[in-house]
């Protein structure tokens, strides 16, 4: 019996679906529905509520709100803070990348791990740790007698403090982008400049910097997006310092006035979205202008530090000491004393805070359980969706693919708090057919996670697709395999390493997530991310510090696990791997 006969006698598996809805059409429809319901529809609802709240466009209302003294002040603060923090992050990140990629500095791998680590620590924990660093219990400054006398204003509770922390926090983003550019730089270009008589400074200024310009600006664009949308640091430092930004304004007004302020806050969220997109586009445009493409190199250039080995090493490790050891040691010290401000010594040390955080505090325990299961669900749903979406974005043309790409990129750029406001608006009213609303339940948070992290999951997977030959899929198609069979038997095994890395990234980000969930949590549904802010606001600094320590330990454990078991994961996807 020949194969063609066998094929024709076999009943179709998807017998109940109409013929046009089998295979790719069904996949496209499912993806459009997923992205449409979770990203496009809520954002459209947000724009609608912002611009035409009562069914009509009212220009004077918009002018009134946006022209208000406090809104203008918050907008200017937002712009200034994110631009200044981006500049700081760009300088620090670029220097770090030049140092680790171009020189023979000792113990580079360890240093890179330390430099990238702040990126993986939730920003609210970073902020809390820095606040603790200046408290009397700080083991570093306290021991040096440099801690603040009681009653003085905390130096980080200021505009400068916010810029400083956002800059440090986002420097790794620039670092990763610049390092990727540097690794593509052929050593021969640098050697040619040396043979023409150029010294090291001249080579860096005239050859290397112009060639990595694209990478620097791409990193700066990421740092800008991350700074403008960073709720944790802006709230933890900005609210006590009375430095109002758009994000903290939206958060505080929604907390005080509830859903009645939603339409106005939707307008502010839209303004924040527009600022984000403008900043990102501008930076990307600056980077593209005069961008030089070079062929990828087999061998990256290396310079010897020679006599500078010790001073440079000292400065580099000193930086890590200040940025990592100072705040984190303070955080741990604060978690180990009974009350805020107590110095840590043999008499005051206690594990009560950790015991409370882990076992006795019902809210924290429930929040952790909630965070854990919605994070696992998010990973379990988003990775298959991202693999299917990556397939369409990589190998299919047409307007549907273009629309999906645009939607996923937009969701990547927009600050989480905007998704939060959009989700409230979208799910506030009772759902059709069900009768009850999802507002205030954990399901809204889950929906927001799907929307917020799809792009994060997509990035490494798109990188994975770039590595595999399209003919592998086409050969399976010729063998008669439909799209779902191919995704399962051919594509998934091929992109498995990238998908695993994507899963790790999403898990680490979602488990401590704060940006969207801070607006969506309620008495019925708490997550662990915003818990620190609530505890700190309620005056339980030491308990907040203990929760923060646990988060840092969780992150470190996950990073360590991924290093031990992740030898087969693709290079360049997990940021902490050198």
């Amino acid at each position: 019996m020949s194969l063609t006969e066998t094929l024709s006698k076999r009943p179709l598996r998807a017998l109940r679906l109409p013929r046009w809805l089998t295979g790719e059409a069904a996949l496209m429809l499912a993806l459009v529905l997923f992205v449409g319901v979770l990203s496009i529809a809520p954002l459209a609802r947000l724009a609608w509520a912002a611009l035409v709240p009562q069914g009509q466009f009212d220009a004077s209302r918009i002018a009134d709100i946006l022209g208000g003294r406090r809104v203008v002040g918050a907008t200017l603060n937002t712009i200034w803070i994110s631009v200044a923090a981006t500049c700081l992050a760009t300088v620090a990140g670029t220097l770090a990348a030049l140092l680790t990629t171009l020189t023979d500095m000792r113990a580079r791998t360890l240093w890179v791990f330390g430099f990238v680590l702040p990126l993986m620590i939730p920003p609210q924990v970073t902020a809390l740790a820095w606040v603790q660093a200046f408290s009397p219990s700080s083991p570093v400054l306290g021991a040096l007698g440099l801690s603040l006398p009681p009653g003085t204003r905390h130096p980080l509770y200021s505009m400068g403090g916010i810029i400083f922390l956002l800059g440090l926090y986002n420097a790794p983003l620039v670092f990763l982008s610049v390092r990727a550019s540097l690794q593509r730089l052929p050593a021969s270009l640098v050697e040619a400049a040396h043979s023409n008589g150029a010294g090291r400074g001249a080579v860096i200024r005239d050859i290397i910097l112009p060639l990595i310009r694209g990478g620097v600006f791409a990193g700066a664009a990421l740092a800008f997006v991350s700074s403008i949308g960073n709720f944790g640091i802006q709230a933890m430092l900005g609210i006590p310092a009375r430095v109002e930004t758009l994000i903290t304004m939206i958060y505080r007004r929604l907390n005080s006035y509830g859903p009645s302020a939603l339409n106005d806050m939707a307008l502010l969220a839209l303004l924040l979205a527009v600022l984000t997109v403008i900043g990102m586009t501008l930076t990307a445009w600056l980077g593209r202008k005069g961008d030089q493409r070079v062929d990828s190199a087999h061998r990256a250039p290396r310079m010897t530090l020679g006599p500078w080995q010790w001073p440079v090493g000292l400065a580099a490790w000193g930086y890590l000491l200040v940025c990592l050891a100072l705040p984190l040691s303070a955080l741990f010290a604060a978690a180990l004393v009974r009350g805020y401000g107590q110095p840590l010594n043999a008499e005051t040390i206690t594990f009560e805070n950790f015991a409370n955080a882990l076992f006795h505090h019902k809210g924290i325990r429930e929040a952790f359980v909630t965070s854990f299961w919605i994070t696992c669900t998010t990973v379990a749903v988003l990775i298959p969706v991202a693999v299917a979406l990556g397939y369409v974005l990589t190998w299919r043309r047409g307007w549907v693919a273009k629309l999906l790409r645009l939607a996923s990129e937009l969701a990547y750029a927009l600050p989480g708090i905007i998704i939060g406001v959009a989700m409230i608006l979208f799910f506030l009213r009772p759902l059709p057919f069900i009768g009850t609303g999802l507002y205030g339940t954990v399901w809204v948070i889950l929906a927001a996670y799907f929307s917020n992290f799809l792009a994060l999951a997509l990035r490494p997977i798109l990188g994975g697709y770039a590595q595999i030959d399209r003919a592998l899929d086409e050969a399976a198609q010729l063998a008669g395999a439909g799209i779902f069979t191919r995704l399962r038997t051919i594509i998934l095994p091929s992109v498995a390493p990238a998908a695993t890395a994507a899963g790790i990234l999403v898990f680490m980000t979602a488990i401590n997530e704060i940006q969207t969930s801070v607006l969506l949590v309620s008495s019925r549904a708490q997550t662990i991310g915003p818990m620190i802010i609530f505890l700190e606001e309620a005056g339980s600094s030491t308990l907040a510090a203990a929760v923060g320590c646990l988060m840092v330990l969780l992150v470190l454990a996950l990073m360590g696990l991924s290093l031990v078991f992740g030898r087969r994961l693709p290079e360049g996807v997990l940021p902490w791997r050198d």
């Binding site: 066998t6 003919a471 050969a475 010729l478 095994p493």
Partner: protein, 356 residues
């Protein structure tokens, strides 16, 4: 039956039209090669046949059933066509046997039957002992044979081959050309072979379609392409062909004609319907020119290179000495730079008038 009828198909990517009114009628079981320079549209033609690209116009029927037309498109997975990709497209996470068995598994063939067919096919291409290896552990030639085995196992009636020898060493190519011929004899499948290497095309195919800039220039038997090219482009493309203008074409009947080339009278082959013309393009090959002691075309040797079986000379010929020609002269012979020689044209072809 698995004859292929390609009827006036066109395909554009954005503003560039890649296929322009392409038609080919391929008989069941025939081995057809499509020959053309890179970028001529031959790979797009293959992808249209396989169903990876949708047509803008025209239609394709396989075995009498329309598979591609602007409004009707049978997806690749339901065409039952085998393709040997340029880089073989072996699934790296599956063993050789799993690669070959995949299509059978998709078709729902029971395990026992599947195993039997896979081992039979692997024995046919002499890969039986390597059934459990991964593709990464195979040599280039072995990978090629796995790709062929995959088509054999599926018993595809139509097999498309996309430059299958392009990534292989020269010394492997001869062996694999033989392999393709054996595959064709064994399977009886209709073969559609894309290549830019004319030696491959002429050696393997029953008929060759010469393609350039999205059009089929000529579709004919290899010997006809070589000795009776239909156009200047084909004549110049096949076998180092040289095209010159001759004057005073006088048909002599019986497929022969006399003409005047660089002042010398020569006798050439021509199409049966050829008429007397004042001027015409004629084509010939380096081997058609011979040294002569008697009257002939005067030439001046500018370069002579030793090629083993023959001596290759570049000469400037004609009364003015400004027509460059290549000449192959059977060994033993010796020519030096600057030497004056006399050449006779033993064979040539009057290219038919395109307007006629």
């Amino acid at each position: 039956m698995s004859d292929i009828r390609i009827d006036a198909i066109s395909k554009s990517f954005g503003p560039t039209q890649v296929l322009k009114d392409v038609s080919l009628a391929i008989e069941a079981g025939e081995f057809v090669a499509v020959l053309g320079p890179s970028g001529c549209g031959k790979t797009t033609l293959l992808r249209c046949l396989a169903g990876f690209e949708q047509l803008d116009g025209g239609h394709i029927a396989i075995g009498g059933e329309t598979v591609s037309a602007p409004r009707a498109h049978v997806p690749p997975e339901r065409r039952g066509i085998g393709v040997v990709f340029q880089n073989y497209a072996l699934w790296p996470h599956m063993s050789v046997a799993q690669n070959v068995a995949y299509g059978l598994k998709i078709a729902g063939i029971p395990r026992a039957e599947r195993m039997k067919r896979v081992s039979r096919v692997l024995d046919l291409v002499a890969l039986g002992p390597l059934a459990n290896r991964r593709p990464a552990d195979l040599s280039g030639g072995q990978r090629q044979r796995v790709a062929l085995a995959r088509c054999l196992a599926m018993e595809s009636r139509v097999v498309l081959l996309d430059e299958p020898l392009a990534n292989l060493d020269v010394h492997l190519r001869g062996a694999l050309e033989e392999e393709f011929a054996a595959f064709h004899a064994r399977s009886g499948a209709t073969m559609f072979y894309i290549t830019h290497d004319q030696a491959e095309a002429l050696a393997l195919a029953d008929r060759v379609a010469v393609m350039n800039a999205g059009r089929i220039l000529q579709f004919d038997r290899p010997e006809a392409l070589f000795s009776q090219p239909a156009s200047e482009t084909v004549a110049g493309f096949i076998g180092e062909g040289r095209v010159l203008e001759a004057e005073d074409i006088r048909p002599l009947g019986n497929g022969r004609a006399a003409a005047s080339l660089m002042g010398q009278t020569v006798e050439l082959r021509c199409a049966p319907g050829e008429r007397a013309r004042g001027r015409a393009k004629i084509s010939f090959h380096p081997g058609d020119l011979q040294l002569t002691e008697t009257q002939g075309i005067a030439a001046n040797v500018t370069r002579a290179t030793y090629r083993g079986a023959y001596l290759r000379a570049e000469v400037m010929a004609g009364p003015g000495g400004h027509v460059p020609l290549s000449v192959n002269i059977a060994a033993p012979a010796s020519l030096t730079r600057g030497q004056r020689i006399t050449l006779a044209l033993r064979d040539g072809w009057v290219i038919p008038d395109a307007a006629a």
